[in-house]
C-alpha cells in the first residue's frame, strides 16, 4: 500500500461538528482497508481565493492533511465519497514524497557553456544534423531537373 497525502479543506464549523466530520472522514478510510499514519491540522485560515462548494461560497476553511496508507484502487473511491460530503470544500490527493538525497549540481551548472555536459551533448547532436547555413544542394541527385524553385 503506497502512502498518500490527503489535503482536505473543511468548511467553517463549530468544534464538535468538526470532530464528527473528521471521524466520518477517517472511517471512510478504514472501511476501505486503509490506515492513517498521522493527521496534521494546519489551522483555520482565510483561503487565498474563494471557492464554491455545494452551492455555497467559502472564503475561510479548516486545513487538514491526512497521511494515509490505502490500496491504490480505493483512492478514486475515497475522492468520490468526499466529493459528495457537504463539509469538504476542496480535496487533493498526492503521493507522499520520499526524502531524496541527491548532491547539489550547482557547481557544474555555473561552468562556462562549453564545459557543461548538456551543452556538449547538444553540440554532438548538432554535428549529426545537416547544417542549414552551409548546406549546398548537390546536382548529382539522379534527377535531370532542379527539384526546387529557384
Amino acid at each position: 500500500m503506497p502512502t498518500y497525502e490527503l489535503a482536505l479543506m473543511l468548511r467553517a464549523m463549530p468544534k464538535p461538528e468538526l470532530k464528527t466530520t473528521l471521524t466520518r472522514i477517517s472511517h471512510a478510510i478504514f472501511d476501505r482497508g486503509g490506515i492513517i499514519r498521522n493527521i496534521e491540522n494546519l489551522g483555520f485560515r482565510p483561503m487565498p481565493y474563494k471557492t464554491t462548494a455545494h452551492g455555497l461560497v467559502h472564503k475561510e476553511a479548516n486545513y487538514f492533511v491526512f497521511k494515509i496508507d490505502t490500496p491504490t484502487k480505493a483512492v478514486a473511491d475515497l475522492k468520490e465519497e468526499y466529493r459528495r460530503d457537504v463539509d469538504v470544500v476542496r480535496q487533493r490527493v498526492f503521493l507522499a514524497q520520499e526524502p531524496s538525497k541527491n548532491d547539489c549540481t550547482l557547481e557544474e551548472e555555473l561552468l562556462p557553456p562549453a564545459y557543461r555536459e548538456d551543452v556538449q551533448k547538444m553540440i554532438d547532436v548538432g554535428k549529426t544534423q545537416v547544417n542549414r547555413f552551409t548546406y549546398k544542394f548537390k546536382y548529382n541527385s539522379g534527377l535531370d531537373y532542379y527539384p526546387f524553385q529557384k
Binding site: 487533493r92 547539489c104 557547481e107
Partner: protein, 136 residues
C-alpha cells in the same frame, strides 16, 4: 689498425659512461630520501564547491510549507522566479516549482499575488540582480 682503435674507443667509452651514470643515479636515490623534497599535496588555491541555499541547509521543499515557497514568488504578480534569479540547482528548482503549483492548487497559496503576511520575510535573493542575465 687506426680504424680498429677508433671503433674500440667509440664502443668501449660509452659503456664506461653508462657505468658512471648508473653510479650517479644510485647516489641520487640516496638524496631523495631527505625530508627537504617537494611535498605531494592538493591544490591549496582550489575553491570550495558552491552549493545552492536549499542543498546547503538540507531543506526539501514541501507544499505544506507555503511560507518558504512564497519566498520564491514575485510579490507583484505571484510568478515563480526562475533559476537565474533564485540561484538554485536544477533539481531543487524543479522541486520548488512543483511544490508551489501543488500548494496553489490546494489553496494554501495564492496564484496572482504573495500573501501580505509574508511580504516582510527575509529575501533569499535579489530579483533586480539575477545570477545570470534576464531573458528579456
Amino acid at each position: 689498425m687506426s680504424l680498429i682503435k677508433t671503433v674500440l674507443t667509440r664502443y668501449v667509452l660509452p659503456t664506461s659512461y653508462r657505468a658512471t651514470a648508473a653510479r650517479f643515479s644510485s647516489t641520487d636515490a640516496k638524496i631523495t630520501t631527505s625530508n627537504d623534497e617537494p611535498v605531494e599535496m592538493d591544490n591549496p588555491y582550489k575553491k570550495e564547491r558552491r552549493q545552492c541555499i536549499l542543498c546547503k541547509l538540507n531543506i526539501t521543499p514541501d507544499y505544506k510549507n507555503y511560507r518558504l515557497l512564497s519566498q520564491f514568488q514575485s510579490p507583484y504578480t505571484g510568478r515563480i522566479y526562475g533559476r537565474h534569479i533564485t540561484g538554485l540547482c536544477k533539481s531543487k528548482q524543479e522541486l520548488v516549482e512543483n511544490e508551489i503549483r501543488k500548494a496553489q492548487n490546494c489553496a494554501y497559496m495564492p496564484y496572482y499575488y504573495k500573501d501580505k503576511v509574508f511580504l516582510k520575510d527575509p529575501k533569499l535573493f535579489d530579483p533586480e540582480n539575477p545570477v545570470r542575465a534576464h531573458r528579456f
